[in-house]
């Protein structure tokens, strides 16, 4: 059912044969992949990377298996998803560690892309990654009490383990939860804590790390270095993102991204919500492309639910149409704002936003909302296309958008200023791009033709003819051009999908109030506009996910930001960041 079972079985046995003591297949019902002995993890991962071709570490996350029942087997499991950069299904490794003093060897020296993801697992689950070069909290701040994603950690506004809460309608009465908190706020403090004279510890630690990183960058002349904070309130950071930068004159010596300013606890809330309730929350991850987020989550859950949630033909086509329209609208926005960062303040963005608005009109007509579409359901979509919308999409796709994309291309791509500001800036080699687990346009601009739609096709993408766009230089200019190319490919897919769109049902069965999801795990991934968007979910057969993890492309793409920027001028930081195209809702979740 999960991808690993469809992956080449030869390697499966090969891995087990190679490490007979350390690796064994995960035999729990509904699970796939391999359980690896903690002490052998590095060895196994090295073999995977160097000998078996699993060079792309897509996702690292932790799951807390906890029950307060007596004699319950409680442990934390760290889950890794490996892929080949040439395509194919996942290979899943799992490492189990006790909840007290959880320690797992860090994979960062092997796969640089594990860096932020391991920090996240440390931050939220308290798993220590031995050998991690910079293990600090990433989404919360240093000094925060507890590891919030652990099942026995309760927030200040805690009411009940799972939703829907009993005290609500029809039986109960709604009350304001803040009235039950002594501070009238969403705060709780450990016993005996005294706030007088309290000093923060987050920033000093950050500057310490920054200084350490700067020492590695040696220059002949000893000059005074300056620390500059870009953000969290900064017009170029696309939201509340902060970069602590150490400068030698105009040159970047060290850069550390600081995030979590929009960490709104998707995963904790997601584990409390019912399966269906999570759908509108996914809208708010990458809020520029809600339809793609819906798609990823729906795929992950449908994979677990099996045939009874297989969407009918028409729904599949509508899904693809919506996802591709989303990609276009997202890239229009990204290009507009990249030009903003390059110094062409708001004029190109205005042109891009006009086209985006037309796409939003279609979303609004279909789903009722411009941005937060909440359109996908398990086994189909929420509503059919209303009258007239199909014609609108057709005229947009065949007439207006191709012309407008050409227009952007003509005015921007050959522009002398754009080229001199972006060519040769922030170069990422293909090897680096794979090692840092970058995804989407960033990966493809570096010459790696990896697109989930082609590498590991989902939904009905195997029916369409389109090219996987790729550019060779890996600089800002290519990351801009790849988005233009991708919009054109999306139009191609749209043309085919619109031509073949069948009639019929849009839901498999009735749209249920509650869905039943069998126990097990699944990892659903789609090629979102920002890159590979994955949802790792674990079900224990109840009405709520036991684990709900989002592999957010913007977040993981940021791992490579420091690499892009060190050694370059401070003005290029902004451009490099713009070329990654992050959305903070997804970075911080």
């Amino acid at each position: 059912m999960t991808e690993a079972t469809t992956a080449a079985p030869v390697e499966k046995s090969e891995l087990e044969k190679r490490f007979p003591d350390a690796v064994k297949a995960d035999a729990r019902p509904g699970y796939a992949g391999f359980l690896v002995d903690t002490s052998k993890l590095i060895e196994v991962a090295t073999a995977l990377r160097d000998e078996m071709g699993y060079d792309y570490l897509s996702s690292v996350t932790a799951v807390d298996y906890y029950s307060d029942a007596p004699n319950a087997e409680n442990f934390i499991e760290v889950v890794y998803h490996f892929y080949k950069s040439t395509g194919g299904g996942a290979l899943e490794l799992k490492v189990q560690t006790p909840r007290e003093n959880s320690t797992v060897p860090s994979l960062t020296p092997l796969y640089a892309g594990a860096d932020f993801q391991e920090r996240e697992a440390y931050d939220l689950y308290g798993v220590n990654f031995e050998g991690h070069p910079d293990q600090r909290r990433i989404l919360m701040w240093e000094g925060f009490a507890g590891y919030p994603m652990r099942k026995d950690w309760k927030e200040a506004y805690f009411e009940e383990e799972v939703k829907p809460f009993k005290n609500r309608w029809p039986e109960g009465q709604v009350y304001r939860i803040e009235d039950r908190n002594p501070f009238n706020k969403n705060n709780a403090y450990p016993q005996g804590f005294d706030p007088t004279g309290f000093k923060e510890t987050d920033d000093p630690k950050l500057y310490e790390v920054l200084e350490r990183a700067a020492r590695e960058y040696s220059e002949d002349i000893d000059t005074e270095q300056v620390v500059v904070n870009l953000g969290p309130q900064h017009p170029s950071t696309h939201g509340v993102f902060r970069m602590a930068v150490r400068l030698d004159g105009e040159t970047i010596v060290a850069l550390k991204p600081v995030m979590g300013y929009l960490h709104r606890n998707h995963e904790k809330i997601g584990e409390r919500n019912t399966w269906t309730m999570n759908m509108p929350f996914t809208d708010r991850l990458d809020y520029l492309s809600s339809m793609s987020n819906n798609f990823g989550y729906a795929l992950a859950v449908e994979k677990l639910m099996g045939d009874k949630a297989a969407p009918p033909e028409r729904a599949e086509y509508i899904r693809v149409i919506m996802a591709e329209l989303t990609r276009i609208s997202n890239h229009l926005w990204a290009i507009g704002f990249l030009l903003n960062d390059l110094g062409a303040f708001f004029t190109p963005a205005l042109y891009a936003i006009v086209e985006r608005e037309l796409i939003l009109d279609i979303f609004e007509a279909t789903t009722g909302s411009r941005m937060m579409c909440n359109y996908f359901r398990f086994g189909g979509v929420a509503r059919d296309l209303p009258e007239g919308v199909l014609e609108k999409i057709k005229s947009l796709v065949t007439e207006r958008l191709p012309r407008k994309i050409d227009e952007l291309d003509i005015y921007l791509s050959e522009n002398e200023l754009v080229r001199s500001r972006s060519e040769g800036i922030g170069v990422i080699t293909p090897e680096e791009a794979i090692a840092f687990s970058t995804a989407g346009p960033v990966l493809r601009a570096s010459g790696v033709p990896y697109d989930v739609r082609r590498a590991d096709p989902y939904s009905i993408y195997d029916r369409f003819k389109f090219d996987v766009t790729v550019r060779q230089h890996g600089d800002v200019y290519d990351r801009y051009m790849i988005r233009i190319d991708e919009m054109r490919q999306s139009l191609q897919i749209l043309n085919q999908a619109l031509k073949d769109l069948p009639g019929g049902e849009i839901m498999n069965g009735k749209n249920p109030y509650q869905v039943r999801v069998p126990a097990g795990e699944s990892y659903g991934r789609v090629e979102g506009p920002k890159g590979e968007l994955g949802f790792y979910i674990v079900s224990n057969g109840k009405g709520n996910p036991a684990r709900y993890h989002v592999r957010a492309p913007s977040f993981i793409n940021l791992t490579v930001l420091e690499k892009m920027c060190v050694g370059q001028k401070v003005a290029d930081v902004v451009v490099n960041l713009g070329s990654i195209d992050i959305v903070l809702g997804e970075v911080d979740r």
Partner: protein
């Protein structure tokens, strides 16, 4: 300035028709407020999803410039209006308070969307502040998740109405007393509001009745119920 403008020229004095192109009689409050209501400079300050709708409001289709508000300033020192557009998190609120303190008077705050108004869909989250009004005073609340550009425009017009209703003799920023800055919260084991210090001390020094009840029932709720 003609007599068709409702915001001036209504001081109760009749201006002869031949002079109406050149002369207007109005009150100081009215002319002062008119100047301010048509030149509100919002801070270029986006927090989350709502910021995207805020940008769309400023873009060509909805065109905020019609209200004299298109001059978005990234610096708080140059802005009059803080549009809190998105979820306010504990990690971000110290910065928001700091920015608010840095804005010169007269200053206004517009809470855009459900999150900024009261926590919204993420209210229960451990890193989420339930509404920016717990820390800074809010003038206008705009509901929606996210509010459409039309809704934001309506909120801004409500702000203009509020500006119209103010009088130069009564506003706080021309008063004799200093306006105290809002104490900046700290990031401790949880968010610390310095105004709550005494209360926090009092609550955390209570004998551990709370931890015993912790696994089953939430400690704060149990205390409040007792």
């Amino acid at each position: 300035m003609t007599d068709t403008n409702p915001t001036v020229n209504s001081a109760g004095y009749e201006v002869p028709p031949e002079l109406r192109q050149n002369v207007a009689i109005t009150t100081l409050d009215k002319i002062w407020n008119m100047g301010r209501r048509y030149s509100v400079w919002p801070m270029m300050f986006g927090l989350a999803c709502c910021a995207i709708e805020m940008i769309c409001t400023a873009a060509s289709r909805y065109d905020l410039a019609r209200f004299g508000m298109e001059v978005m300033r990234p610096s708080p020192r140059q802005s009059d209006l803080m549009i809190v557009s998105g979820t306010v998190t504990k990690k971000m609120i110290p910065q928001i308070v700091r920015l608010y303190n840095q804005m010169p008077e007269p200053k206004y705050v517009l809470a855009m969307g459900a999150c900024a108004s009261g926590g919204g869909p993420f209210k229960e989250g451990y890193n989420v502040v339930s509404g920016v009004d717990q820390y800074v005073p809010v003038d206008v609340y705009v509901p929606g998740c996210p509010p459409t550009p039309q809704a934001l425009l309506h909120g801004l017009m409500k702000l203009q109405e509020k500006i119209d209703s103010e009088s130069i003799t009564q506003v706080r920023w021309y008063g004799k007393e200093d306006i105290p800055a809002i104490p900046v919260p700290l990031l401790g084991p949880d968010l610390i509001d310095p105004r709550d210090n005494e209360l926090i001390k009092q609550e955390t020094s209570k004998k551990p009745a709370a931890p015993a009840a912790a696994p089953a029932a939430p400690a704060p709720a149990a205390e409040a119920a007792s």
